[in-house]
Symmetry: C2
Subunit: 198 residues, 2 copies
């Protein structure tokens, strides 16, 4: 059985892949709008982890709509959830994909898919959507990350990652200038995975 | 790192243990009020699966209170949740236990612990509570069970299992007679694990 794990290069999606590895053939999938070379960045991390990797292009109107949402809201939650939902839907329509996974944790507030949306995606597309970390709290995730991964953590504007936020920030930068980014994205710590611990 | 997995001998707690096995030293723990020999039944299943196993005695007042709840409510949800919560609390107070896991799935409505209760147990006792199947829907669980486990399924009154329901039903039988059981426990399909698929 193959599982396609939505992969940002961060610790959560990396750990999700590691937890699935004994039971599935894991491929990591990074979604990108091609606004920044996030696919290449994620590929390098995926290779360091020893997983197959591919980049899936998401349509630019999805990012345009997410941009409109974050500007209107003044905070990124709904925009990030919208992109995540579009990414899962995009994978679910892939004829070769039966199991889709992501790195959402128990304590995450964003991104998150509500249960009605999950069941709709599963039923319409005949796929299984899984969040292997959904039953793990932050502290348990950190214990496992510490055991299996070498990571670097820094403020979000210093870490190059392949998550949805990265290209959404870039679109804001292009349209409204860099100072606008800080209006809607509060600074927070991001993680980037270097390699596995041996 | 050792994890203590609450174990009923059913497919969900067995699968939870199997998903944790590559990453933790797994011990299966069956909670019992000693009203029925459910610990012995679970031990046999645990041995078939190749996991360490122990039985933990829960205090009879817990079962008495659960009995009062199910009789008052007319349905078992709150009583089962109460016993489950007491079982997790009991394990959390064990000085040797740092990680506690159970077999709760995404689509389960009972037993389930709400997030406030989980965080309270974790913070008060310095433990990590994990539900490895919480991010898996019923269909995905069934695919994995089918791959890794040989099970038998039957109506609940025909399957001898070591779950909370078994001893709660027995207390109702002793106090109110067997016909009362069907008033509060709707018949439903239960699973019992035989062994692993090789």
């Amino acid at each position: 059985m193959q599982v396609s794990v939505l992969f940002s290069g961060g610790k959560d999606s990396s750990l999700a892949a590691i937890l699935l590895e004994p039971f599935f053939d894991v491929e990591l999938v990074t979604c990108s709008f091609s606004l920044l070379p996030v696919g290449d960045i994620a590929r390098e991390t995926a290779e360091n982890l020893g997983f197959a990797h591919r980049v899936v292009r998401l349509d630019m109107p999805v990012l345009e709509k997410a941009y409109a949402m974050v500007i209107k809201d003044g905070f990124p939650k709904n925009a990030i959830n919208y992109i995540h939902s579009a990414a899962v839907e995009r994978l679910a329509k892939d004829a070769d994909v039966n199991f889709i996974a992501d790195g959402i944790r128990r304590d995450d507030r964003v991104p998150v898919l509500d249960i009605s949306r999950i069941r709709s995606i599963e039923d319409r597309n005949g796929v299984h959507y899984m969040s292997p970390l959904k039953g793990y709290g932050r502290a348990a995730v950190n214990e496992l990350v510490d055991r299996y991964l070498v990571i670097e953590e820094d403020q979000s504007d210093n870490v190059i990652k392949a998550d949805y936020e990265t290209e959404l920030r870039e679109m804001i930068r292009q349209k409204d200038g860099p100072e606008k980014i800080n209006d809607v994205f509060p600074a927070h710590v991001q993680s980037h995975v270097i390699e596995r611990k041996s």
